[in-house]
Every structure is written in structure tokens, then in C-alpha cells.
């Protein structure tokens, strides 16, 4: 226990917490949106994230032919490369998400069977994807070549903010803002919200359920892919089971914010990211997961709908 770090390291912890938290926000959108429309935990979301990280590596290494020895890029070329990578990673994850829906959920959903069958089917899909990648990569961690030389962009008070942290915070906040706009303003977004309120009624209103669900998976996948890209710019390494812990944390974030609630995911992710940084600084990094889950249990006990949740607890199961 070392409480003095909280004050002495306050700013670095805050900035890192924000960056980690915003990555959680993006991944948890994948969980929360799918939960909203299907009332099911998308167990394969962690693998969708994993696919995104590998897409980043493959495109950087094998399409752009950058190597680690390569001089870091500058100017418009850097920005264009980063944008292309972002899009590639999003596309890979998005397509994976749509395929997951087709393989794991669609047939079972049309049969109207029990929820656990879908859960096991999603777990099976998740095992399939991660095992496939494990065999291909021979369980070894895969590094990505560095595109962005990590210089300090500017300093606030005593803390220097690195370019990659800055990029994560800005880009993740922007992407979240876009998703939120999309869901609240567009017709498809309206349809998604309608389905998450009542599947039956929205069918009666002429909404094509299958299309809306596919679209939800696609958007969740795209956002998770963006998170994977941002994650790779900071941590630069991936492995076949990278999604497990991150996915667990992101799911916790979604529940913290009230699962099914998009803005809730934002607050939940930030809360979790910040809490995790400060807590692991105080009691040691190896207890990180324990503190996270303890908080989750406490929140669920006293605010079962999440900190910012909607009253969806009764309407399920």
C-alpha cells in the first residue's frame, strides 16, 4: 500500500488512465450495442479485437512494408498511413463481427432457442478464432513496426504528454462522439434503438431485424477495430489471447455504465480506466483485475443497473 503515489504521480496516472479508459470505452461499445439488440453477451468480441490488432500488424508489415528499422514517418505520409491503418483494422474487425453473427447467432436466433445455446455457440466461435490465430502464429507474441516515433508532444504542469497517448485520447473521444451521433441521429441508429427497446414492436413497425442486427455487429466490430488500432500504436505487441483480459475489462466497463447504454459505456470505461490506474499504483499491478472485479461486484450490489444504467434489469431473461 503506497498512497503517496496518488498525489506524487497524479498527472501521469490521470493521463494514462484516460487513454486506457478510452480504449475500454471503444471495446465496450462492441459489447453494449450487441447486448442492447440481442440481450446476449457477445463472447467473441475479445476475438474481434484480437483480429483488429493482427490486421494492424499485417497491414503495417506486409502491405506497407514498414520494418522496425525503418525511419519513422513524418508529415502527410504519416497521417495518411495512420488513417489507412485505422480503416484497415476497422474493416477486418467489422467483417469478423458480421461473420460471428452469421455463424454463432443467426440460425439459433431464427429458431428462437434458449440463450445459453447462443452463449455456448459464441464461446465456440471465440475459441475457433483465437485457436486459429494461435496455430498460425505458433503462440508467439507478434510485434508491430513503429510508425510513430514517440516524442513528447507538450507538457501540462510537470507531465509530458506523448504523441501516442495524445492521439489515443483525441481519436477515441472523436470516434465515440461519432458513434453516439450515429445512433441518436440517423435512421439506422433509430432502428437499432428501436430493436433494443422491443424486438417485437420494431418488427411490427417494418424494421428488418436481421439487417439491423448485422449492422449493430458491424458497428460494434468497426469500433472495436479502431480500439485495436489505437491499442497497437501504444503497446506495439499482440498475441492470440490478447483479447481475453481486455475484453473482460471492457465488459466490466459496459456493465459499470449499465449494459445496453451507449453513453453509459463512455462513463463506465473512463471510470474503470482511471480507477484501474490509480488502484494498481497504490496496491500493485498484479491485483489490478481483483480491484476491478471487486468494484464491479459492489456496484452491482448497490446499483444493479450500473452507475449510469437504464432500467433494463427487469425486462430481461
Amino acid at each position: 500500500m503506497n498512497f503517496s503515489v496518488v498525489t506524487s504521480q497524479f498527472w501521469p496516472l490521470l493521463i494514462n488512465g484516460l487513454a486506457v479508459g478510452l480504449i475500454y470505452v471503444l471495446i465496450s461499445l462492441g459489447y453494449t450495442m450487441v447486448y442492447g439488440v440481442l440481450r446476449l453477451i457477445n463472447f467473441a468480441n475479445s476475438e474481434i479485437f484480437m483480429v483488429g490488432t493482427f490486421a494492424t500488424v499485417i497491414v503495417t508489415r506486409d502491405v506497407f512494408h514498414y520494418t522496425s528499422a525503418h525511419d519513422a514517418l513524418h508529415g502527410w505520409k504519416l497521417i495518411a498511413s495512420l488513417l489507412l491503418l485505422l480503416i484497415a483494422s476497422m474493416l477486418f474487425s467489422g467483417v469478423t463481427a458480421v461473420l460471428v453473427e452469421l455463424v454463432a447467432y443467426r440460425r439459433l436466433r431464427s429458431k428462437g432457442t434458449n440463450r445459453l445455446a447462443s452463449l455456448i455457440s459464441a464461446i465456440g466461435t471465440s475459441i475457433m478464432i483465437s485457436e486459429g490465430v494461435r496455430i498460425l502464429t505458433k503462440s508467439a507474441p507478434v510485434p508491430t513496426p513503429r510508425l510513430l516515433s514517440k516524442f513528447n508532444l507538450f507538457t501540462i504542469g510537470s507531465v509530458a504528454i506523448r504523441i501516442d497517448t495524445f492521439m489515443v485520447i483525441i481519436a477515441a473521444a472523436l470516434i465515440f462522439f461519432l458513434v453516439d451521433r450515429f445512433v441518436t441521429k440517423t435512421l439506422l441508429g433509430k432502428a437499432i434503438r428501436a430493436v433494443s427497446m422491443s424486438e417485437e414492436t420494431s418488427k411490427l413497425m417494418g424494421i428488418n431485424l436481421n439487417r439491423v442486427i448485422s449492422a449493430t455487429f458491424l458497428i460494434g466490430g468497426l469500433v472495436t477495430g479502431a480500439a485495436a488500432f489505437l491499442y497497437m500504436q501504444v503497446y506495439e505487441n499482440t498475441v492470440f489471447n490478447i483479447g481475453f483480459n481486455l475484453g473482460l475489462a471492457a465488459f466490466t466497463a459496459a456493465v459499470l455504465g449499465g449494459i445496453g447504454n451507449i453513453r453509459g459505456a463512455f462513463y463506465g470505461g473512463l471510470t474503470l480506466g482511471l480507477f484501474e490506474q490509480f488502484a494498481s499504483a497504490v496496491i500493485g499491478g498484479q491485483w489490478k483485475a481483483v480491484t476491478v472485479f471487486t468494484v464491479l461486484v459492489l456496484v452491482l450490489l448497490f446499483r444493479p443497473n450500473g452507475l449510469f444504467g437504464e432500467a433494463i434489469q427487469q425486462s430481461r431473461v
Binding site: L108, L116, A117, L119, I120, G124, F244, L301, R316
Partner: protein, 366 residues
């Protein structure tokens, strides 16, 4: 409503059984019901004897297909097969009977294993004396986890139990006094009992112990199912709100279901620790919880025989196909997806006539 429907459909169950679309499980049940007591006893005795002889199955040429490459067939029968069946039966009480999704069942297995490890290290108790203590420890953990969290519904419970499983593992990983990442080694094997020797060369003895435990659990579940707790669990699973209205003290029965499941997990953990003589945190990962849950759902949630079948297949299959060792988890994943898509209620689902009764009632309501 379904609860009532089920009760009323019991009366007409024989006529229901004649309907088309009856599955294998119902055929079996009908045949069983048509038998008298001597026939049933004979059948059970023969069945138990056959299963008891399974360890010798690899010895004859015509049964040698049972043999598992790489790992010893007799050892595979104990772990994973026997252990998984035992734990799947325990988890089935929680998930299948009472409809509570528990994703952290491995925690109880770990608690049993670590209890065995610690008591073997610090005391002179033998395995049979540790067994009830391990079960009690797991039960206590079940109450501790269950009392606050069983008020939650559905997926929230799932994630909290998942978290609990991870917490137990991480605590074991980070606590120096219980060996941290290296775990506890040289756990004592059980003493010689009824002429049976227990050590690494005598896997068969362990198999018979696990088999005895499985039979005990089967007997217990059968008793529970027809008595008050079984009916309460059934009511909770079908409709919690209705169960509350009918005066079922749901929290109490949920906690009981959790505890009994936990005790079985703990017992499996004790036997496992005394078999491998070694426990470490990396044996108790989330994957184990997922595997056991898969056994339950794959075999047929709520139906004991289906769960046993699921446990046998999912534990045995990866060992049998070890020759494609690198891809066996991949094959496992594909099998899960395919089977769940083709048979969403599992290989041997719970009685269909219950469902038919419920469907009929639902039809009347519309």
C-alpha cells in the same frame, strides 16, 4: 404459468408420450417406466459394472480404439473424463436445474484443490478426512458469493461469477504463502483403502472413487428433483416472478443450489489434487469454467444423462484426437458451434413432454 402447466401435464404424461417427435431421451424414460423393480435393478447393476470395468477397456484388441494416444487411457478416465462428468453434474444443478448462469465454477474446484494442498502440507489429515473439509470450504465460498450476488439476474450473475473465478485464481497467484505461481507440490495421495492402492501407477483406484462419487451425486440429484428443492429450482428456472408469487423463497433455494454445486466442485478439487499431487493457479483458469459449462449445455441442460454424455464426449474427445494435438482446441470450438446450431437443446435434451405441456398451455393462452 409454466410451472402450473407442468404440474397439470404430469397427469397426462403417458398420452403425451405417444405423440410424435419424441426424442431418444423420452424413449429411454418410457422404457424405464415400463420395467418392474427387478428389471431396473438388474439394468443398473449391469450398467455400473460395465462402467466400472471401463479402465480395462484399452486392454482388448476389439476395444483398443478407446485408447488415447500420448496420455494414459486409465489416467484420462480419471482426469479429465471422470472429473468433468462430476463437475458438470454439479454445475448442472446451478445452471440446468435452477437456471443460474455460473461462469466461475472453476473457483470451487480451485478451493477444493487448494484446501487439499494446504491441509496436506500443514496437517496429518489423509485425503478422506480432507474431502469433507474441502467440500465445506467450497460451500462456504458458495454462500459468501451467493448471498449478495444471487439477487442479480441473468447476465449480471454470469459476469460476477466470472469475476469471482478470476479473483480466486489471481489471489492464489499473488499469495506467497500458498506458493504463488508455483502452487503447492507433493500433496499426499490417499492411504490404502479397501485394498486399493492410490498412486500414480494405480489410476484405476481413482477412477472407482470418482465413479462412486458420480453415482452418489446422481442419486442425490434424483432425490432432490422429486422433492421440494427440485420443484423450487424448477419453478425458479421457469419463471422467477411466478415462483415468488407462489411463495417459493427463491433466494434461499438459489443459495442452496449454489452451495450444493460448489460442494461437488470442491470434492472434485480435493480428489484432483490428491491425484496430481500438485496444484497451481494455471490449472484453474476461466477456460475450465467454460469447458464445464460447455459439457452441461452441449449434453443437454437440466438432463442429468445428457450432461454425463456431454462431459464424457467433451473431456474424452480432445484426448482421443491428441494426434492432431495442435488443432484439437480448434476442432473443439468448431464442434461446439456445429452441435449448438444443429441441436440447440443439447445432445440429450430434458424431457420433451414437459415442453409439450408448456407449449400446449401457452397455445391455450393465445
Amino acid at each position: 404459468m409454466d410451472y402450473l402447466a407442468k404440474l397439470s401435464s404430469r397427469v397426462g404424461s403417458n398420452s403425451m408420450a405417444n405423440l410424435k417427435n419424441i426424442n431418444l431421451r423420452d424413449k429411454g424414460a418410457n422404457l424405464w417406466e415400463s420395467w418392474g423393480r427387478p428389471k431396473r435393478t438388474a439394468f443398473v447393476v449391469i450398467l455400473i459394472a460395465l462402467v466400472g470395468l471401463l479402465p480395462y477397456g484399452g486392454d482388448f484388441s476389439f476395444t483398443s480404439i478407446l485408447n488415447t494416444p500420448i496420455s494414459s487411457y486409465q489416467a484420462v478416465l480419471v482426469y479429465p473424463v471422470g472429473m468433468f462428468v462430476l463437475m458438470a453434474l454439479g454445475l448442472n444443478i446451478v445452471v440446468g436445474k435452477s437456471g443460474l448462469l455460473d461462469l466461475g465454477y472453476v473457483a470451487f474446484f480451485a478451493i477444493g484443490g487448494y484446501t487439499a494442498g494446504l491441509l496436506s502440507e500443514h496437517t496429518h489429515l489423509n485425503t478422506w478426512e480432507i474431502l469433507p473439509i474441502g467440500m465445506a470450504a467450497a460451500m462456504f465460498a458458495g454462500v459468501l458469493l451467493g448471498l449478495p450476488t444471487l439477487r442479480l439476474r441473468g447476465d449480471y450473475l454470469a459476469i460476477v461469477t466470472l469475476g469471482f473465478g478470476e479473483i480466486v485464481r489471481i489471489v492464489a497467484l499473488n499469495t506467497q504463502s500458498i506458493g504463488a505461481s508455483t502452487g503447492i507440490a507433493s500433496i499426499r495421495t490417499p492411504p490404502k483403502t479397501f485394498g486399493l492402492q492410490f498412486d500414480i501407477m494405480h489410476s484405476n483406484s481413482y477412477f472407482w472413487v470418482v465413479l462412486a462419487m458420480i453415482l452418489l451425486v446422481i442419486w442425490m440429484i434424483r432425490r432432490f428433483t422429486v422433492r421440494r428443492p427440485g420443484r423450487a429450482w424448477e419453478a425458479i428456472r421457469q419463471d422467477e416472478d411466478v415462483a415468488i408469487l407462489m411463495g417459493v423463497p427463491i433466494l434461499r433455494y438459489k443459495v442452496w443450489s449454489f452451495c450444493i454445486g460448489a460442494a461437488i466442485g470442491g470434492a472434485a478439487g480435493v480428489i484432483f489434487a490428491s491425484k496430481t499431487q500438485y496444484v497451481a493457479p494455471n490449472m484453474f483458469t476461466f477456460n475450465v469454467s467454460v469447458l464445464i459449462l460447455s459439457c452441461v449445455v452441449f449434453g443437454g441442460m437440466g438432463n442429468m444423462w445428457g450432461v454425463i454424455l456431454g462431459g464424457v464426449i467433451l473431456a474424452y474427445l480432445p484426448e482421443r484426437i491428441r494426434f492432431i494435438s495442435n488443432a484439437r482446441q480448434l476442432v473443439f470450438g468448431i464442434t461446439l458451434v456445429v452441435i449448438m446450431n444443429l441441436r440447440p437443446d443439447g445432445l440429450l435434451p430434458r424431457k420433451k413432454r414437459e415442453k409439450l405441456g408448456a407449449a400446449k398451455k401457452a397455445g391455450e393462452n393465445v
